[in-house]
Symmetry: C2
Subunit: 383 residues, 2 copies
């Protein structure tokens, strides 16, 4: 189905994969980081600025958009691409994760989840069928199957029951998906940190022949070590010629480690949220621009970064904006952080293409370990 | 002094003047609107976006900048142009107005004003000499003389005393000004709504041969009619071959009326502040994007506007951003409002050049009178 939605695995270097996703709204080189545009906007950025960082695909959130402004309204207005002025690919989540974490008085049954809106307390229901239909109305390039994100920690029995419910919902989500050329639907692997449950989930999903597969239920408190360990036993079982998406991940080192373990796609609010709280990701680790040590510093935030925050301003100015609570502070730091994540994934793609992934990772780790207070320049991202 | 700072009066049409100011940081066509960048940033806009609207000069506020990040710091960092990435001309106010309206426990003497910071309560003094020196440290292209903005209402005696104090301060400000090629200093005409006091103020100031003259003490509650009446008797007495700046003004109709009365320069927080509260200025009057009537409206905010808010988005989307309290709402509406003010002054310049100012004003007023709810297109700004 969806003939023109395709994934081409172009090269591997160890476990790391270089690929290309073709969609109705454009091509995506992988590994890729997808900035999060929760309520039809990547917070604090013009979409032209998001595109200028090299981002090719953004995320939208079904839960937020169904409540405000509403999926029917977005459909009447021509879909999410037109609504938010992002002509490129858009992936929407299924709403399942956020219903469980954000909504009030939620009730889970075999049919789906009933919940109250965090905005006005109004009552709603999400099912595999309604989530899939909402994502169609939004005109999502990539639709996610409706699932339950298994909480952590969880015992084996709880993880198995939760995963099997998600697998039954995956069947219903797949049946509800309206195939359109260049559009795709991804199934979501659950099973918490139990390898055999992950294997069972992958087996169930691959029978449904999704256009891609996500790993869900990670980055929920288990820690990087256990996340990597789970990926080590999960990704080898996943289809080779379909994109693999690690949902909600993560810190720069999470992304690097997951790429080494065969993941192709990522999303996370970290770069945008951190940008609004004065935290910047750099080639020398994270930098807090609120810190008084930047007050008189004429240097750029990251001398190897091409974003406007680094090209046009001093740390002293960025610090001033943060202290004065000026909007331009979050605007510039969000742009920088998205640029950093795009540079990181672009660097990984170059390294995989050149067979130098191990060297790239060593440079990346050396830069992060140095920290921002050192004076030695680091060229970890190969720019 | 300041040989290369010059004003050329290119054409008049009735009382309206078309001019050109040459400065060390670039040329400015007049009538001109100067966006306000209080704390070294035009709130919610990248400076590249400010420039994209056609703005050639921005304002900075001495009071805010002396308190945070401090004039010495900005000087060490290369001046305000470099600090805020605005290579074009910058006008700074003297701090006098904001000390009186924003600072705490202020005390006015012949020497100057002592006050407490609204930020941290720290004690500071501004005098004609220190204000002028701070503006030099900021590297202001246009320095304003230190004055007392006479409150309104005020009796004749109070207005006279206040104006004469400002005139004594003008002498001291002029003496403190360090002449540099392409830089200028403006004197400020006071005298409230009393024509003879305004005349006395102009006579005192012109002896000091400033590079330009501002009209201060208006738009402080006297209303448009009395403001225009005061301009009617003030501008005819002002030097013809020097720029005339009406401080802190104003609404679009204020600007149009003041241009007809011979004013060349304007600044006001209205477009930026309104943009942050969902108020948009358009060719059909003001529009409140928070209003539910926009919820399903696929049309642009102003079909004749070239800004991104109007070119790339529906009213429904702008309404959504406002309701969801997304940063992009203020970002887009601020951009639109600055674009509107730049288009308004560009339209006035074109009309003066073509001798069609009266027609322009008639079209402008017809558009504003129509209101946003009418469906008939209006081409009042000649675009």
């Amino acid at each position: 189905m969806s003939a023109s939605f395709s994934f081409t695995l172009e090269k591997t270097d160890g476990g790391a994969r270089l690929g290309r996703i073709t969609t109705a709204h454009g091509e995506i080189q992988t590994p890729v980081f997808m900035p999060v545009g929760t309520a039809a906007t990547v917070k604090g950025m013009h979409p032209e600025s998001v595109a200028a960082t090299g981002a090719k695909i953004v995320l939208g959130n079904t839960y937020h958009l169904m409540l405000r402004p509403g999926a029917d309204r977005i459909e009447r207005l021509g879909g999410l691409h037109r609504f938010m002025n992002w002509p490129g690919p858009i992936l929407t989540d299924s709403g399942g994760f956020q219903v469980m974490s954000l909504a009030k008085l939620r009730k889970l049954t075999e049919d789906g989840v009933t919940f109250q809106s965090h905005i006005d307390g109004s009552r709603h229901t999400l099912t595999p069928e309604s989530s899939t239909e909402i994502q169609r109305k939004l005109d999502a390039t990539i639709t996610m199957a409706f699932d339950e994100c298994t909480p952590f920690p969880v015992d084996r029995k709880g993880a198995a029951e939760s995963m099997r419910l998600s697998m039954r919902w995956a069947v219903r989500s797949r049946e509800a998906f309206v195939a359109r050329p260049g559009y795709g639907q991804f199934g979501i692997v659950q099973g918490s940190v139990f390898p055999d449950l992950r294997a069972e989930s992958i087996e169930a999903l691959t029978k449904l022949d999704f256009e891609g597969y996500a790993v869900g239920g990670l980055a929920v408190g288990e820690g990087q070590e256990l996340m990597f360990k789970t990926l080590d036993t999960t990704t080898p079982l996943m289809p080779v010629h379909k994109p693999r998406y690690l949902m909600g991940v993560g810190k720069p080192s999470d992304i690097v480690g997951a790429v080494l373990r065969g993941i192709d796609m990522f999303d996370c609010v970290m770069p945008t949220r951190s940008g609004r709280t004065a935290q910047a990701f750099t080639r020398r680790g994270t930098v807090n621009l609120r810190n008084a040590r930047h007050m008189d510093d004429p240097r750029p935030l990251d001398e190897h970064c091409t974003c406007p925050a680094c090209r046009n301003y001093s740390r002293a100015y960025l610090h001033h904006l943060v202290r004065a609570e000026e909007m331009l502070g979050p605007m510039l730091l969000t742009w920088h952080n998205i640029q950093y994540y795009q540079d990181l994934t672009a660097g990984l793609r170059d390294a995989i293409a050149n067979g130098t992934t191990q060297q790239f990772v060593a440079d990346f780790e050396a830069g992060q370990a140095l920290g921002d207070l050192e004076e030695v320049p680091v060229y970890g991202l190969g720019k």
